[in-house]
């Protein structure tokens, strides 16, 4: 119509934003006296240059797909769920509880049970802020972020006092039985060069399946239709007989469950025990991923891949160029978030104008001027 083509919205604008963010990052790197070009090379090579790098990049991306989908689903109902961090932590607790409590004969059964418990725990954790929002009007941004702190404190307590192995100094649970270990990339894709040390595991397929399911839910089911309608206009939703309380509750339960699924990748797939702070900010990165991915599963996958690469490439950068500290990596990631999320309009407006101008020129050339 009167706007730009879809590919420009989905691909071109995020791409320009990322390039701008990298340019500014390069500037920062140059200011501290290092070569931006070399830093860039190290990052790209670190993230994509080897099976080892890919293993980590995709492993991180798996986390971000789950937390990104969690935020995206809630966005469709115009709910800003920034409690992915806490919900994922509770998901991890659920995974640990069921894997430690039962002697599982095979990883497939263990996986099914762990998924059930991860989603149950994290959905229930999201249910409280959801209920407060639906019934009491307590703003979900405030309550979900407070629940992050409560979750964190709860995990510290449980890991130190309940789940800690007798005699151990580390605040972590016992390791899960070998029968529950998920196949890693070395098992299912060893031919591609993945070694046993790679954290990448079959959870990435679960993440991709989750993308398809979320797409079906949002754009093909009645529930998704109601979620989107509610997100655009609560008044109209009430007019159509859609129950706002029901939509808020269900959406947040789904959102929480998706965040909790991230624990399958980390707790069950990689650490194989519950460790403190295993979420490592993935809940928050999910917000940036959903924003950048326009709350669409395909966008979420692409954005998750970018942030996975930033995480992995950043770690390599820190290792290869000691002058660039851990904090610098955070700065680079923050710049990407800033440009793709907050400064989106800065790129969008000129691009939109450009497309309009091009279109007008084409139209004018195509037909004689009607005013003459």
């Amino acid at each position: 119509m009167d706007k730009m083509p879809k590919w420009a919205d989905v691909v071109l604008i995020p791409l320009i934003s990322v390039i701008l963010a990298l340019l500014v990052s390069g500037l920062v790197v140059a200011i501290i006296g290092e070569s931006p070009w070399r830093a860039m090379q190290v990052m790209v090579k670190g993230a994509f240059g080897s099976a080892y790098g890919w293993g980590y990049t995709l492993y991180y991306a798996t986390n971000f797909i789950f937390t990104g989908l969690a935020v995206a689903v809630a966005f469709h109902a115009r709910l800003f769920n920034i409690g992915g961090e806490g919900q994922a932590a509770l998901g991890g607790l659920g995974v640990a509880v069921i894997l430690l409590a039962v002697d599982w004969p095979h990883w497939t059964l263990a996986l099914a049970a762990a998924m059930g418990f991860a989603m149950l725990f994290s959905a229930l954790w999201a249910a409280v802020p959801a209920y407060l929002q639906a019934k009491r009007g307590s703003h979900i941004v405030i309550t979900t972020i407070m629940f992050n702190y409560i979750a964190s404190a709860l995990l510290v307590y449980l890991l130190v006092n309940v789940l800690r192995v007798e005699g151990s100094m580390a605040p972590e649970s016992a390791s899960f039985a070998a029968a529950t270990h998920l196949p890693s990339a070395a098992d299912f894709a060893g031919g591609l060069g993945f070694r046993g040390s790679t954290p990448l595991n079959i959870s990435i397929f679960l993440a991709l399946i989750a993308c398809v399911l979320v797409w079906l839910l949002i754009w093909r089911t009645r529930l998704g239709y109601e979620i989107r309608a509610f997100g655009h206009s609560e008044t109209a939703a009430v007019y159509a007989g859609i129950n706002p309380t029901k939509i808020i509750m269900i959406t947040m339960l789904i959102s929480g469950a998706l965040a909790g699924m991230m624990a399958i990748n980390v707790v069950m797939g990689e650490a194989e025990r519950l460790v403190l702070d295993f979420v490592e900010g993935a809940g928050f990165v999910g917000i940036a991923v959903a924003l950048m991915g326009r709350s669409h599963p395909v966008g979420v996958v692409l954005a998750a891949l970018l942030f996975g690469a930033l995480y992995q490439g950043g770690a390599e950068l820190q290792f290869e160029m000691p002058a660039i500290s851990r904090e610098m990596i955070v700065v680079i990631q923050a710049l990407v978030i800033l440009f793709t999320g907050a400064l989106d309009n800065m790129v969008r407006m000129p691009v939109q104008k450009l497309f309009l101008a091009l279109k007008r020129r084409r139209d004018d050339a195509a037909r004689p001027n009607p005013a003459e």
């Binding site: 119509m1 009167d2 009645r222 239709y225 007019y239 159509a240 007008r360 139209d363 009607p370």
Partner: protein, 510 residues
């Protein structure tokens, strides 16, 4: 002063992408006259006025103010050129006083006190000069809509506007407030001000303007002296074909009682909005509810449509009670009982604006088996149904994939009407069916409503347009302050009598 026209436009053109909103517009308005501009929605009136007020820049063409070529790149320039605009939706700060609103953006310096003192003095002068009586220290939200509009006009006069543009000024006024506005406009004209009046109400054009221009599809097709034309002629110029301004309908043949409302009460936000309303509607009958907006009509529609809960009273449909307080009081159960609802505000209630037309066609009926296959929605079936409805209800463009917000007001309303009326509901609730809708679409929607009545359906019509109430209703109930003040038959009453009831004056008091 010269004899040059106050405003002269030459060859104004403006395109938005492929849409030519204004095409080579020429217009000349003499000083001290009231000039009307009429046209259907999307005819380009708003674009033209936005160019004149500096919101948009014309692609081509020139503007002459008092005979002098003037560039108007922004609204500050418009104000300097002596142009003032009164928008349809007021731009007032609700919790500021009248004086504070008037000086907002036109303060003399960093300190407010001298500006306020000067403004108060000037306001008193202006009020007396033009009969615009307003208390300078009243808070805006305490004022009636009519008075708020006066503040808007005063604001423009305070900025030394010689040319006033009023965009649909009577849309929110009672008939008597509209009359008062016209008296004020006449005073302003007598004092030499030039007024441009944009409206779709032909009666107002005939009553107050000196000259009138008709716009159609971005072009100014005619400019005539008001004395030389008629409403029918203007309507024909606007639409490009003959239009029926009066709805043709036969005598109603009322049957059994469909809807029965008894002592209905609604409290919202601590305020009692409905104070015991009772009425019946029969098959084959249109009950019109007249009244100034905000006297409980909205709540009446919302309770019956299942959007809000009642605090008391009872409602029955074909003698069966309707849940108006419990969990079954929602839009889904109402639709299941055969109640259609064309809501008052299509943009915030009736449609999801970013949704495509086909998604809106299923809105509220998305559980209908014919729209679903198993757990998923049958998008192909909905799109086909949408295309079919668009053809039969003359929705233009007939493109199911276009988002609702890209349709004109009239076509948006046709989508809502098609969705709610095509199932031939036993009871149809209709709120403001033609608000912001062009004449061609009004005619179409009115015909549909009459046709549904003639199928033996009951219709509850709520409208602030008295012409519409008078033209469509078989019985008229007037609401004031949450109560029904009285019932009249359209053939036995007139606008003045209804206007009195709308203001809360009953026979005894008058």
């Amino acid at each position: 002063m010269t004899d040059a026209p106050a405003i002269e436009l030459r060859g104004i053109s403006k395109a938005f992408g492929p849409v030519q909103a204004n095409k080579d517009i020429a217009m000349s308005v003499a000083r001290g006259t009231i000039h009307g501009i009429v046209g259907e929605n999307g005819a380009g009136k708003s674009t033209l006025m936005s160019i004149l007020y500096g919101f948009y820049k014309a692609d081509r063409g020139e503007i002459f103010i008092n005979g002098k070529a003037t560039a108007i790149p922004d609204s500050q320039a418009a104000i300097r050129a002596g142009i003032g605009m009164v928008h349809q939706h007021f731009k007032l700060v609700e919790n500021f006083t009248v004086v504070e609103n008037v000086i907002l953006g036109a303060e003399d310096g960093a300190m407010l006190r001298p500006s306020i003192a000067k403004a108060r003095r000037l306001l008193t002068e202006l009020s007396e000069e033009y009969g615009l009586k307003v208390d300078p220290d009243a808070i805006i939200e305490d004022l009636s809509v009519g008075h708020q509009q006066r503040v808007e006009i005063l604001k423009q006069l305070y900025r030394h506007a010689d040319i006033l543009i009023l965009d649909e000024p009577t849309g929110v006024l009672t008939p008597s407030e509209a009359d008062q506005l016209f008296r004020i406009l006449e005073r302003l004209r007598a004092e030499g001000k030039t007024i441009i009046l944009i409206t779709h109400k032909l009666r107002e054009i005939m009553e107050i303007t000196d000259t009138v221009s008709v716009m159609r599809r971005g072009e100014m097709t005619n400019t005539v002296k008001t004395a030389d034309t008629s409403p029918a002629a203007l309507a024909e110029m606007m639409v490009g074909r003959k239009v029926l301004l009066q709805v043709d309908k036969t005598q109603a043949q009322p049957g059994e009682v469909v809807l029965s409302v008894r002592d209905l009460r609604v409290t919202r936000g601590g305020v009692t909005r409905l104070k015991g309303v009772s009425f019946d509607i029969r098959r084959g009958e249109i009950l019109g509810i007249a009244g100034v907006a905000g006297n409980g009509q909205t709540e009446l529609l919302e309770v019956l449509g299942g959007m809000i809960a009642a605090s008391g009273g009872s409602v029955s449909l074909f003698g069966q009670p309707l849940d108006i307080t419990g969990t079954a009081a929602n839009g889904q159960t109402r639709r299941a009982r055969g109640i259609g609802h064309v809501p008052e505000d299509r943009q915030t209630e009736g449609l999801i604006m970013p949704f495509e037309a086909w998604e809106n066609v299923a809105f509220g009926y998305h559980f209908d088996p014919k729209y679903n296959s198993g757990p998923l929605m049958d998008n192909a079936a909905i799109r086909a149904d949408c295309a079919d409805k668009m053809a039969r209800y003359d929705v233009r463009p007939p493109n199911p994939r276009l988002p609702a917000r890209n349709f004109s007001g009239g076509n948006q309303q046709k989508i809502v009407v098609a969705r709610e009326m095509d199932r031939a509901p036993d009871l149809l609730l209709v709120g403001q069916p033609t608000r912001g809708v062009d004449i061609g679409a009004i005619e179409f929607i009115h015909k549909q409503i009459i046709a549904l009545r003639d199928q033996g359906k009951a219709i509850l019509l709520v409208s602030v347009e008295l012409d519409e109430i008078m033209g469509l209703s078989d019985r008229i109930a007037v609401m004031f302050d949450g109560q029904i003040m009285g019932e009249r038959l359209p053939q036995e009453t007139d606008q003045n009598a209804l206007g009195l009831l709308m203001a809360g004056v009953t026979e005894g008091a008058a």
